[in-house]
Amino acid sequence: MAELSFNLLHTLDPRRDAYGFALRPQHTQRYKEYAKIYKEEEGERSDKWKEFLERLAISDQPCSSDEEYKETLQVEATECKVETVLESEESDESSGRKSISDGSKERDLEKEVHHSKETKTHEVQTWAQIRPSLSAIEIMMSSQIRTSKDMIDEQKTISGDHLPSIEEAKSPGGASEEEFDGDIYVNATSDDNANAAGTVTAEVDKVSSKNLFPLKEEVEFLVRGGVPKDLRGEVWQAFVGVKTRRVERYYQNLLAQEASDGEHKEHEDSSGVPKKWKRQIEKDIPRTFPGHPALDDNGRNSLRRLLLAYARHNPSVGYCQAMNFFAGLLLLLMPEENAFWTLVGIIDDYFGGYYTEEMIESQVDQLVFEELMRERFPKLVNHLDYLGVQVAWISGPWFLSIFVNMIPWESVFRVWDVLLFEGNRVMLFRTALALMELYGPALVTTKDAGDAITLLQSLAGSTFDSSQLVLTACMGFLAVTEARLQELRTKHRPAVLVVVEERSKRGRVWKDSKGLASKLYSFKHDPVSLIEEKKSTEGGDSLADEDKSSLNGTTNLDELLNGLSVDSELDSLPDLQEQVVWLKVELCRLLEEKRAAVLRAEELETALMEMVKQDNRRELSARVELLEQELAELKQALADKREQETAMLQVLMRLEQEQRVTEDARISAEQDAAAQRYAVHVLQERYEKALASVAEMEKRVVVAESMLEATLQYESGQSKAHASPRSTRNQDTPTRKTGLLSFGLGWRDRNKGKPTDVKESNLSHSTNEGMDPSSSEKETKNEQKET
């Protein structure tokens, strides 16, 4: 397959990833970082799968080994060659067909085949069986399909052959070249098939009885770890049940019809793909993975054929943008016809009603997802509501594109692995929820709608940790099950239907018939069982298509006849006459059925609309009530908030006042402290002056003392000299002098005592002053604390 070319290429082009898809410039660096991890993971998982498949092959499939598979492939390759030649004779368009699928070198199994292919360059491989070792998985998965489609199952057990296609091919051959061609195929492979048929029928019992559950669990585990690159295409086919779905030559017939339509254009209105789809497909083909190395001219032709064939196969869908990406993706992994059947499985089954004209189911899913979001992430949704962002704005594109172009490719593949395995849309919801879980915390910080959406888009776009994503999705949201989703879908569907009905009433003529069709389509939860039912009737493929479209009310008699004639030509069964008669009978029956179905459909529609209207009115009024209630609550909340705000403001003002008061107090205290400090200073000075004066006084006292002593000595000397005569006359003076002396002494004593006193008083004073400011500071501090 195309892997070959893009494996080579990605080493050359750093702007593309390992799958050949363009990388956004801002992601190249992160991709480089993750490329190593991917490689490691890839190694691990391919070992695991290899081991698993070997075990399966040993235990379950002793007969059909890979050796035989190789042979089968080889044979098919030659068969395909013949086919190309034939087809190139048939129509110009298909002659240009070449293989876009040229075998990966990684596949050891196919290596040989492809070596031989390289020599024959013009070969086409439009259909290939998947390797037998995967058939156990295939059987397990297709048993799921069969349970919903009893008819085909029944037919198989009767015929005892698991391959209806081969049985058809085996039917006794006519003389035409094509039939001859078919014979080669059958002859060459019949031995293998006989073997395979034997083992497989035996195995269906075995698997369904005991092996199913452990096997399924094991596969589930492996799938969550990812499917190895080189197995992915085949494993996906096994999951979707391509082999069970496939009807031999159905695809080729669709293409042939398309080609013949192209030749006579007068039939434009009756059958075939409406012009608008063709034009849309043409517009979209170059816009599908632009620049991808595998989508060269041949690849694009394949893509065109695939989309046209699908549009013809299911007119209720036709072509819807997004399918171009799916088809392109599948073509990268598998041959063209395999891709067709895989696409049929995905769009008809997994995504029934999703891509139809009104896209009802996709709208329903959005409502369901929103409800799940509200349930799981109330805070996030509240925030998004507050920003005015609707969840569906973002999740809508995720769902419609099944994450293609929304998250990195490695993650896309991993999500598809699980989704295709599970066979429903649960993984879609789980992945979206996982993304919300991963990025919700970041989203809550956004401040406006634009930022929120941009952030989510870019975060989702850089979800390179695919294992984390898949594990979060699978393990984190176990409560999201198919049953729960169905329940929610039935709850939300009426609302969507009412809107759709209103739209189609707005005079949109082109929708009339199809509107009804797709409504019925979406209500019928097993539309494919219908197809399968018709497929199982003999005469098969295109009849099934016509039948289904007649049920859908879109075809007319012309188309049916046209289709039949082409069909019978191509099948060229032996008893043409008988066949024609039988077909005519069948046709009458079908026409009757169609009429009945149309009538019934109309009845159903009116009934439905009645129901829907009532239901919706009730729901609407309930919703209005709810909304009103919410509004009241919100208003209440707002009022409360306002009250709180004013209260807060008051508190704030009071606080401010208090603060101002304390500030004032603090300032005055500081001023006091400064004043006191100044006083202390002054006192200190005075004290020093006093000390100085005391010291001087002391000196003077000393001088006075010495003078006093000198005077005393002199006095005593004088009294000795004038003892007798002058004693009476001089009596007065000594007393006066002693009086002076005693005064001097007394003063001296007093002076000596005084300094200490002064000091003490000074000290006590200063300590007092020292204490004062600190205490006042303490006060202010206390006040500040109080504030």
Partner: protein, 200 residues
Amino acid sequence: MGCSSSLPDRSSGQLAGLNSENGGVSDAKNLRVKLVLLGDSGVGKSCIVLRFVRGQFDPTSKVTVGASFLSQTIALQDSTTVKFEIWDTAGQERYAALAPLYYRGAAVAVVVYDITSPESFAKAQYWVKELQKHGSPDIVMALVGNKADLNEKREVPVQDGIDYAEKNGMFFIETSAKTADNINQLFEEIAKRLPRPASS
């Protein structure tokens, strides 16, 4: 899709957030505008947005599935800024079923057609009618004829566009995302026509 150039507007207080409920205006100087692009498939809606937001043109751009989002802020001469929150919708007819999700509450709708395709012009008229019925009553609508660089292949005369726009009270311009002709003018003209909130 990550690199929208958004100004750090509205970084102010928490109490200011309450009035920004519906994708419209935030304050007199910094407007936020929800804009939706509608029109037939392949007329170049995504290219116009890419040219306006990133200044790039990719002739092989991808099909838009559902819708995609980008935002861009421009400054006007009167020193107001306008942040466009642009929803680029899918063009195929059936995606019209999802369009209301995106044009509901939009202040601006840009309806695009391809001047080389009369069908796309008819489709544009369908969108104008749809918006008149179901869009916001005061929605600003612009009619854009894109691919003006392909003048030699023109099939929709300029006058037709002008007449239709005039009749429906729309602003009309012909652009080319490829040559960047009139792309910025388109958005500037839209910005001028926006209703301004009463300055506080």
